[in-house]
């Protein structure tokens, strides 16, 4: 035997031993994949015969969805996945979705409607459960999501109540898409809380606005008063009520309600001053009214009411030119607003 032949035989033997050992290692080790593990590389043909190769380092994230034929939960999970991927639109370009189905007929999960084909989805008929074995799947549906570095980011088993929110949040996280929800809290249940005090106050204020528009000021005052009962310290409520009181000439009440309020925002400060000036003007205290209204119009130069009230003050004081200027400004704001 020549040396070359000997080397070749040794190499072949070493390769055989390595293959045997690696098979034994794969056979023996626990199969189940967990968060933080490296996604296993694989290659499989999709139902159209096209080979899908998953290799590390491509910089795309991967979602592998294991579904079982004839399982209601799997069909529902497939519908959810389709909806989620479709909503990702152009963001889905950075995503590969592999759907492994244990029965080729169940490809209908994803292909029933040709108009509904979802971009970037590779449906693989895993009849011999090879992919199942690679990922250690024991139940369906199971969804595994990797990040861009091929590390398993999330494993979701079962089509439970939080399936869609969790999958969406984890995909968004993996794709770096901004979202309001913290992915770790995606399974936490939140419900509409329309019975909160804030919600009830808002309802009363809205109704007051509608009544005001209909000229039913007393009814509007009643509505805002209900809001005030719910939160006596609400600035928004006090401002609404103050204006309504001014409209019906209840000047003392208007001054009382805004007098104990403190505003931090510029527009709210302007509104407080405007109400005080309006009330003072109606009470005949023109000097104080002018002072408040000048300050208010400085803070909010877009309030028609502010300039109108200022015009009223100047008119009452006999300052015709200033009155005309203020009224003109108010009218300009009214028409500009339209």
């Amino acid at each position: 035997m020549t040396t070359k032949r000997k080397i070749a035989v040794y190499v072949i033997l070493v390769v055989i031993v390595c293959l045997f050992l690696s098979r034994q290692i794969i056979k023996g080790s626990t199969r189940r994949i967990g968060i933080g593990n490296k996604m296993p590389e694989f290659s499989a043909s999709d139902t159209s015969g096209k080979v899908f190769d998953y290799k590390h380092g491509v910089g795309k994230l991967l979602m592998v969805v294991f579904l079982s034929a004839n399982q209601k939960n799997s069909a529902q999970a497939a519908a959810d996945i389709k909806g989620i991927v479709r909503k990702l639109a152009s963001q889905a370009e950075r995503l590969n979705v592999v759907v492994a189905i244990d029965d080729p007929n169940s490809q209908n999960f994803f292909r029933s409607d040709p108009n509904e084909s979802v971009v970037g989805v590779h449906v693989i008929a895993d009849i011999e459960y090879k992919l199942w074995g690679k990922f250690g799947i024991i139940a369906t549906p199971t969804v595994i999501i990797s990040d861009m570095n091929d590390i398993v980011l999330w494993v979701k088993a079962g089509h439970s109540y939080d399936f869609a929110p969790v999958i969406r949040a984890r995909l968004n996280q993996a794709l770096g898409i901004a979202q309001e929800i913290d992915p770790n809290e995606a399974s936490q249940v939140k419900t509409v809380t329309n019975a909160t005090v804030a919600a009830r106050i808002k309802r009363h204020l809205q109704m007051a606005k509608m009544l005001q528009a209909k000229g039913r000021i007393e009814s509007a005052i009643n509505e805002v008063s209900k809001a005030k009962e719910l939160d006596p310290n609400s600035l928004e409520v006090a401002l609404e009520l103050g204006e309504l009181f001014c409209r019906v000439g209840k000047n003392e009440a208007a001054l009382k309600i805004v007098g104990r309020m403190k505003a931090t925002k510029q527009l709210d400060k302007a509104r407080l001053l405007r109400i005080s000036g309006w009330a003072k003007r109606q009470m005949g205290d023109l000097e104080t009214a002018e002072k408040y209204l000048l300050e208010a119009t400085k803070l909010d130069a877009k309030s028609a009411r502010g300039f109108f009230e200022l015009g009223q003050v100047y008119q009452a004081k006999g300052d015709r030119d200033k009155a005309i200027a203020a009224y003109y400004r108010a009218l300009t704001l009214v028409f500009d607003g339209r």
Binding site: Q24, I25, K27, G28, S29, T30, R31, R32, S68, Q71, K72, N73, D102, E128, Y129, K130, W132, G133, K134, G136, I138, A139, T140, A157, G158, S160, Y161, D162, F163, A164, P165, E180, S187, Q188, V189, K190, T191, V192, T193, N194, T196, A198, A199, K202, R203, H204, Q206, M207, M210, L211, K214, G215, R216, S219, N222, E223
Partner: protein
């Protein structure tokens, strides 16, 4: 003077007094004009028309002929210039242009609500408030303890047009928009939720009475009856199933688990499924005459290994909440008795998540870790002519302290037969009462002689 004389005198006095009064009143009274006048509203005639807070336009202008024309002026008799609804519509045409018209307008009976001359109430309405005006015909609040905001304050026109509307019930805008014109917070909140109850999107009055009710949330009926008006399928399951979930039939039972408007999760759940279940199942529950279901939480206490659905807080993975034909409200077939023989049909429940091939394939390297080399030990256990073991014989349903939630023991009469399962890196073994101690290894298979 006799008695007769006195009576006579009294009669004369009375007649004189009456005569004087008549003369005075005739002297003061204004004669009805017998010829056409410029206006009817003067200090002498019909003066009160102009003295109220709100005066109809023509009356204010003294233009009575806008509505009245003389019939016989010499007798001071008049008639309307136009008939029926034309009288008002001639000027107020815009009030009746929409598809649905308020009933009085159809017959031209505008005066049912309005005073044609003047009123102390805005819009010349005949009652002090809109509410009392509407209440004359529409008695909609009878028996209600709780009234909807606009109804409570008598502002019917917040939601309804008084004259005509293109929408049913003379609504001012579509249902879907109308409620949200005040309930803005709800509208804003709903936008953030993925799972919204269908009526909450556009048909609030599907569940709520828009005027009021005998309950504070103003729902038309209590759950489950209200829910059943749409969810007939659930009603059927809840009422006709062999095994029923008692809470479903309770008044407001649906609300134990579901929220009526929107949730971040499907089925509009209020909390995660398990939290909902353990609001009751954290303590033993009497489920029959003599049967008590142990506290579910007790089964989980200090357990290291949970069954998948339990670890996912998803009791509905195996149980149907509303009712089932399978015992313990299970979703599919699962034998109620422990030593039921194995068959695919008997353990349909398990195979809703786990592939049947997991137990039906004799040789595999992919389907399970429970194998000696490639011999599937699931297959070996269940496929025996006698005493074939089943899923529940080895696996605890909810949780255990052994990997794969393997049972620590199995019931065998009064004896709890230990299973003695241990797991190794590449296999495991059982020192059980079921058979002689046996091990398995995927890497270095244990050699067992053929029986």
């Amino acid at each position: 003077m006799g008695l007769e004389g006195v009576t006579m005198l009294e009669k004369i006095y009375k007649s004189v007094v009456v005569l004087i009064c008549v003369l005075i009143s005739n002297g003061l009274a204004v004669e009805k004009p017998t010829s056409l006048q410029k206006t009817c509203v003067t200090e002498e005639c019909h003066a009160d028309y102009a003295k109220k807070a709100y005066v109809h336009g023509p009356v204010g202008l003294g233009d009575c002929k806008a509505c009245h024309k003389p019939l016989k002026p010499e007798e001071h008799t008049w008639q309307f210039v136009r008939k029926d609804r034309d009288l008002c519509e001639y000027c107020h045409l815009e009030q009746t242009t929409k598809k649905n018209i308020h009933e009085p307008l159809k017959t031209g009976d505008c005066m049912q609500c309005h005073d044609p001359h003047s009123s102390d109430n805005k819009f010349l309405i005949t009652e002090k408030t809109i509410a009392s005006l509407c209440d004359n015909c529409h008695n909609i609040t009878e028996g209600f303890q709780f009234l909807h905001g606009p109804t409570a304050v008598g502002e019917c026109t917040v939601c309804h047009e008084s004259h005509s509307s293109d929408l049913k019930d003379l609504l001012v805008s579509e249902h879907s928009q109308l409620c949200f014109s005040c309930h803005v917070v709800t509208q804003d909140e709903l936008k953030k939720y993925e799972f919204i109850h269908e009526p909450a999107k556009n048909d609030c009055i599907g569940c709520h009475n828009p005027h009021g009710a005998s309950n504070s949330t103003m729902i038309k009926d209590f759950a489950p009856y209200l829910c059943y008006t749409c969810h007939k399928d659930i009603q059927n399951v809840a009422e006709n199933s062999m095994y029923q979930h008692s809470v479903v039939a309770d008044i407001d039972g649906c609300m134990h688990c579901h929220t009526p408007h929107a949730s971040t999760v499907k089925f509009l759940l209020k909390k995660d499924a398990m939290s909902l279940c353990i609001t009751c199942h954290d303590k033993p529950q009497k489920i029959g005459k003599d049967e008590v279901l142990p506290a579910f939480t007790k089964e989980l206490e200090d357990k290291k290994f949970l069954h998948g659905p339990v670890s996912q807080s998803d009791c509905s993975g195996c149980h149907i909440t509303h009712g089932s034909k399978y015992f313990k409200l299970l979703a599919k077939e699962y034998p109620p008795i422990f030593y039921a023989p194995f068959s695919e049909e008997n353990y349909e429940l398990c195979f809703s998540c786990h592939a049947k091939t997991l137990v039906l394939t004799e040789k595999t390297e992919n389907l399970t870790d429970f194998r000696n080399d490639d011999l599937n030990l699931h297959f070996l256990h269940v496929n025996k002519e006698r005493r074939g073991r089943t899923c529940r014989a080895c696996h605890q349903t909810h949780a255990s302290n052994l990997p794969k939630h393997i049972r620590e023991s199995v019931p065998y009469g009064k004896w709890e037969l230990p299973v003695g399962f241990t797991k190794t890196e590449t296999g495991g073994g059982c020192i059980s009462g079921c058979h002689l101690p046996k091990d398995y290894d995927r890497k270095k298979p244990v050699d067992y002689p053929a029986p």
